[in-house]
């Protein structure tokens, strides 16, 4: 119980730091929402007036505290550039990006675990060597390029989907999920490769430990030893990795949403950074950070479920 309270407290602190960093960042980077909004029609007088209107003249801490206060009450403010409430803007986009990251996460797991296990099981065979090299190659290709290649191969050559033909989930859930499959794959591939490698070496490392010998000595078959004993142990570093990967997946979705023309929060984030639209950026990053931290929190708990050694008394 105490542990959970402590964890939650530190989670909250971390999220606060994140949101403050965002604010701080915006106060040091050049350009401000007023300049962005007025564009080339800006004149000094207009700028002053707009800054006043947007409340940009107040000192940073004041703005920050006001923002965080209203944020806590669920009011995320109004977008400077679109003039609509941030909440309504995000409402339609969060599910898209969540779906994208969720799907890539699932893809990573679904592809890498069986592949990693087989690569370990058939170590030193041709299969394992080929996956090794393939892994390295996939790992080395930047996500945007993977995206282009997938668009080209699956979209233009195989005609599996229409590049750029994003289907909104409001129109057709099936079409939406199907379209998302390809960008999700583009995000997932490099991480999958890393995970395969990690899982393989983790399984091999565990397989050398003494308890594996004990398991054999009781008459377990090779598969039983692998699935009942080794795998669970080998998954521990993989879980840490997956937790840490999460923020990378989000980062990947920022880029991939551009490549596949998906109107998710990644694109909105990049545009909003360009527009210096603090309320939007602040909200997005804080939410994303919260989720990343929260998932890591879940990973921590998962850890304790899987690994009794990390459980604490009391």
């Amino acid at each position: 119980m105490k542990y959970i309270i402590r964890k939650t407290a530190s989670m909250a602190v971390t999220v606060l730091i994140v949101s403050f960093l965002v604010f701080l960042a915006f106060s040091v980077i050049p350009g401000d929402p007023a300049v962005a909004k007025l564009g080339t029609s800006a004149t000094p007088e207009k700028l002053v007036k707009l800054r006043e209107e947007l409340g940009l003249n107040r000192p940073l801490p004041v703005r920050y505290f006001e923002w965080i206060k209203s944020f806590l009450f669920g009011d995320m403010g109004t977008s400077y550039s679109y003039g609509v409430s941030v909440r309504s803007m995000l409402a339609g986009k969060l599910p898209i990006t969540f779906c994208l990251t969720g799907m890539s996460f699932v893809l990573i797991i679904v592809i890498s675990i069986p592949l990693g296990i087989s690569a370990a099981k058939y170590e030193d065979t041709l299969f394992s060597k080929i996956t090794d090299v393939l892994n390295q190659a996939v790992m080395a290709v930047p996500a945007f390029f993977t995206g282009i290649l997938i668009t080209y191969a699956a979209g233009l050559v195989l005609h599996l989907f229409t590049p750029g033909g994003y289907v909104s989930y409001r129109e057709s859930m099936g079409g939406f999920l199907y379209y998302m499959l390809f960008p999700a794959l583009a995000i997932a591939l490099p991480k999958t490769a890393m995970n395969v490698r990690l899982l393989k070496s983790s399984v091999l490392k565990e397989a050398k430990l003494d308890y594996v010998r004990t398991a054999y000595s009781r008459g377990n078959s090779t598969n039983d030893v692998l699935y009942k004993h080794v795998l669970k142990n080998a998954l521990i570093p993989v879980i840490t990795f997956l937790g840490m990967t999460l923020s990378d997946i989000v980062a990947g979705s920022l880029i991939i949403e551009q490549v596949f023309s998906i109107p998710g929060i990644g694109r909105m984030l990049i545009t909003s950074i360009g527009n210096r639209d603090y309320p939007v950026v602040g909200a997005i990053i804080t939410i994303v950070a919260f989720i990343v931290i929260f998932i890591n929190y879940i990973v921590d708990i998962l850890y304790q479920v899987i690994d009794p050694r990390t459980r604490r008394q009391g």
Binding site: D210, A215, Y216, G219, H229, D307
Partner: protein, 264 residues
């Protein structure tokens, strides 16, 4: 029951192949207790593992013959070997710290061999497991059944290993230094337990140790190993009172005696 002839084990993962066991011979009958002593690194564990059919590393070569009740352990298919392991042959490992799966409850690990080799109900298995745990003098078997290995001390883990090894009443029990991690009082209890098991189930025991006084208390026959070779074997009393090999003599001389060293 067990016949080992000319067992050779070679490692190939260094630049030059390295023989760690050389022409090992051993014969054991049902219900016999045999001691295996020797300095650290002399190949005791390797020989034991070979007998239990647990040496399967690729970069190692095994030659010779190990026959257990007519089965050729070194060359029989894995499936056949499996049906022996945990049922007829059980092993207690040297390293109690690492030899238990850290993520599985003690109960599961103790009764695993029953699960594999019999179709006993879960309830029955648990009953037997609890009995085995109490046989090794663990306090509160019910509580321990639900614990994880890291929650036990080294001595307790060692006893859990023994409980898991005897639960299926094997014909051959290999104990690799089962008492090193324990303090004297518990050591004594374990020896009693092994004797009891040997009597009750007619289990043959291969007892590996470097504590000669223990071996002397427990075993009828001993083998002395030195650098991969068996340098001496025979009736325990005979070996201890009239050691033939130089190394055996050294070993015996090194047994701590209950007397002042300062005074010599």
């Amino acid at each position: 029951m067990l016949d080992v002839t000319d067992l050779n084990i070679e490692f190939h993962d260094h630049l030059t192949p390295e023989t760690v066991v050389n022409d090992f011979d051993l014969h054991m009958d049902y219900g016999e207790i045999v001691g295996l002593v020797g300095e650290s690194g002399s190949g005791k564990t390797m020989s034991a593992l070979a007998i239990a059919g647990l040496l399967s590393r690729k970069n190692m070569k095994k030659r010779g013959r190990i026959e257990f009740e007519g089965t050729d352990i070194l060359n029989c298919p894995r499936n056949e070997l499996r049906s022996l392991q945990g049922k007829d042959i059980s092993m207690v490992f040297q390293e109690p710290m690492n030899s238990l799966d850290p993520l599985k409850k003690i109960g599961y690990q103790v009764e695993e061999s029953l699960k594999i080799h019999t179709d006993m109900s879960a309830k029955n298995r648990k009953r037997l497991a609890l009995r085995a745990l109490s046989e090794v003098e663990l306090p509160d078997p019910k509580g321990i059944y639900e614990l994880y290995p890291h929650e036990l001390s080294g001595g307790m883990r060692q006893r859990v290993m023994i409980a898991a090894a005897i639960i299926s009443k094997p014909k051959l029990l290999i104990c690799d230094e089962p008492t090193t991690a324990l303090d004297v009082t518990i050591q004594a209890q374990i020896l009693e337990l092994l004797k009891k098991i040997n009597k009750r189930y007619n289990t043959a025991i291969l007892f590996i140790s470097h504590d000669l006084s223990l071996v002397r208390k427990l075993c009828k026959r001993v083998l002395v190993m030195y650098r991969g070779n068996v340098v001496e074997s025979g009736e325990a009393e005979q070996v201890f009172s009239h050691p033939e090999a130089e190394y055996t003599r050294l070993l015996i001389a090194a047994i701590p005696k209950f007397e002042k060293l300062r005074k010599d």
